[in-house]
Amino acid sequence: MRTALRDALEDEGATVVGEADNGPAGVELAARLQPDVVLMDLRLPGISGLEATHQIKQRHPAVQVLVLTAYDDPALDREAMAMGAYAFLVKGCEVQQICQLAGQAWAHARTRQTELSLETHRSG
């Protein structure tokens, strides 16, 4: 699954900087690499995708998390958004949609990074 997604994203010009196969490793990798966008599954070994999203957003607000899950559940969608996710996608959707949202998330991340650095500059 990860390989297919990586290939599809790279086809669209994205650079995949890292992959993790469980929740804690994902949080750690996000902290280390500080990517623009994280694609997050919800059912993960270790901690759940929701918890991982929460931890990433708390520590690195500029990083945008795109949830991609097999569960087509509006309640989970709401919860993911409450945890700070940028968007909620259900597996089986068009790759085009994933790539498009990843692109928007990337742009949003860049804007947030600028805002955050300005805030830091002003308060400094």
Binding site: M1, T3, A4, L5, D7, A8, D11, R43, A70, K91, G92, E94, V95, Q96
Partner: protein, 535 residues
């Protein structure tokens, strides 16, 4: 047409009884003999007509009825018209007295067949009822004859032989009433006939003791009605259902039955008090004996209920384990589906979309390569889903039956474990699907246990057709276990054995596990071909 004979017979019989009321003398006695004989003819005809299985109870009832007919003819016609006087005792009394045990024995065979020999509680309840009735019979019907110094010995013996006959009949009637089994119309008619007979006999005994019995008394009408209903019960089309075994029921003690048994328990002390108040002889020894017997019977009944409570608690534990296991199984399947097919199919979808984009850009060879990946991936996923499906429910069991499914399972087991498996599966035709499933699961569970715990090198599986049922036998030559542990295993959470036992029990089968530490284990199951629901 034959289905309506019982109505015609009953209508004709009622007319005859009406005729008896209007006639007198020899004509009246001939009508009585005709009604009596008609019941015998009806039973014999019904045996031919309805072919009940087994037929033995009805032959014994016919024998009892024959004795009754001979007794009646002897008493009403031979004594009266040939000898010109009623003598007591006469040969007629021998046949009368003999007819009761035969009637009771025939009914007992019927009851035993209906309860399939498993109605211990019904037997205990009927025994308690009998003890109470015996106290009454002895005190009020037998004691007056026994203590009558004017009665010659033979007359005394014959007079004393009548009440026990009714008592035995009462016991069996009570067994029939409290026992399990279907209650078709024939049951109601037969039961009514027995109640009428007992009522008429009781009235006759009372009138005799009071010296008020007269020939032509209305008691004769009740006797004739009882005989008529006996014949009608046999002729009714539902007669063969009377010998159908009942499904096994849980042991209970219903409110009305409890009240009845409590009433029975008060009979002995009540009789003692009444006799004392009347200044009549008190049958102290009989009352003491009856009290002891009743107490022992009540204890036996209590023990049965205690066992039932224990078994119920064990079933509850098992049910809760099964529900938990079912949920765990569902969780596992959901997890397998999420981590397996859904991930893989999503990935294949992504690859297919990449291939489409390659085609749109005219990169045909890249697209072909990606489509090849999709093709291979789909094949792998179909295989994985097929494995999951087989694990849930082997399709071969539904399509080709138990023997083929077991053969597949045993072969796969032998390949996987390397154990030497010998399977003798001798079963022509198919069984009830529920029975096939139970047998399949028992073999599956037994082999899982062998692989997990037995350290065996040989396993044998025998499936044998036994006419009305099927016998399954799974043996291994492994380390065995302490059989007493089998019941303790459930409490420890190992419900495989208990689960097997319950599965077998639920379709009306028998289950047995034999094991010796160090001497291997054997699971033996006997199931009916058709499912017998458990009430």
């Amino acid at each position: 047409m034959a289905a309506r004979w019982w109505r015609i017979y009953l209508a004709g019989g009622l007319l005859a009884i009406g005729g008896w009321w209007l006639l007198d003398g020899l004509a009246r006695d001939l009508v009585y003999a005709a009604v009596d004989t008609s019941a015998l003819v009806a039973i014999l005809l019904a045996i031919r007509l309805w072919r009940p299985r087994p037929v033995a109870p009805w032959w014994v009832l016919a024998a009892g009825q024959t004795a009754n007919v001979i007794g009646d003819v002897w008493y009403n016609l031979v004594n009266q018209y040939l000898l010109g006087q009623q003598i007591f005792p006469s040969g007629a009394d021998g046949f009368y007295v003999g007819s009761y045990p035969l009637l009771a024995f025939g009914l007992l065979l019927l009851v035993r067949r209906r309860s399939a020999g498993a109605d211990r509680d019904g037997l205990l309840d009927a025994s308690m009822l009998t003890v109470g009735a015996a106290v009454l019979t002895w005190t009020y019907l037998m004691l007056p004859y026994a203590s009558d110094p004017g009665l010659p010995l033979l007359a005394k013996v014959v007079a004393l032989a009548y009440p026990p006959g009714d008592l035995v009949l009462l016991v069996v009637t009570a067994r029939l009433a409290v026992g399990p089994g279907r209650r078709p119309v024939a049951f109601g008619i037969l039961f009514a006939s027995l109640v009428l007979l007992l009522a008429a006999d009781a009235a006759y005994a009372g009138l005799q003791l009071a010296g008020q019995f007269q020939p032509g008394s209305p008691v004769y009408v009740v006797w004739m009605l009882a005989l008529l209903l006996r014949g009608a019960a046999a002729l009714h089309p539902s007669m063969p259902l009377l010998t159908e075994p009942a499904p096994r029921a849980a042991r209970t003690l219903s409110g009305p039955r409890l009240v009845l048994l409590a009433g029975v328990a008060t009979i002995a002390p009540a009789v003692d008090v009444i006799q004392d108040l009347r200044g009549a002889p008190r049958p102290t020894k009989v009352i003491a004996g009856a009290t002891v017997v009743l107490f022992v019977l009540a204890l036996a009944r209590l023990r049965g209920l205690a066992i039932e409570v224990g078994a119920h608690a064990e079933r509850q534990r098992l049910l809760s384990r099964i529900l938990r296991a079912t949920e765990e199984e569902r969780t596992r399947i959901a997890s397998d589906l999420h981590d397996g097919p859904i991930q893989q199919l999503t990935a294949l979808g992504i690859v297919a979309q990449r291939a489409r984009r390659r085609l749109a850009r005219d990169q045909r060879s890249d697209a072909d390569e990606l489509m090849e990946q999709v093709h291979a991936g789909v094949r792998t996923e179909v295989e994985a889903l097929r494995r999951l499906m087989t694990e849930l429910r082997p399709p071969v069991l539904d399509e080709r039956g138990l023997v083929a499914a077991l053969r597949d399972h045993v072969d796969a087991f032998a390949d996987r474990t390397g154990l030497a498996c010998q399977a003798e599966l001798d079963l022509p035709g198919r069984l009830d699907p529920e029975v096939e499933t139970v047998l399949y699961r028992v073999v599956q569970e037994s082999l899982t246990n062998v692989a997990k715990h037995a350290c065996a090198s040989n396993v044998s599986i025998h499936l044998m057709d036994q006419g009305d049922g099927v016998a399954l036998d799974v043996r291994d030559d492994g380390v065995g276990f302490e059989p007493a542990r089998a019941s303790g295993l459930l409490r420890a959470g190992h419900f495989g054995l208990a689960g097997m036992r319950e599965r077998v029990r639920l379709v009306g089968g028998r289950w047995e596990v034999q094991a010796v530490p160090g001497g291997g284990a054997r699971v033996a199951v006997h199931l009916p071909r058709q499912v017998t629901p458990v009430g």
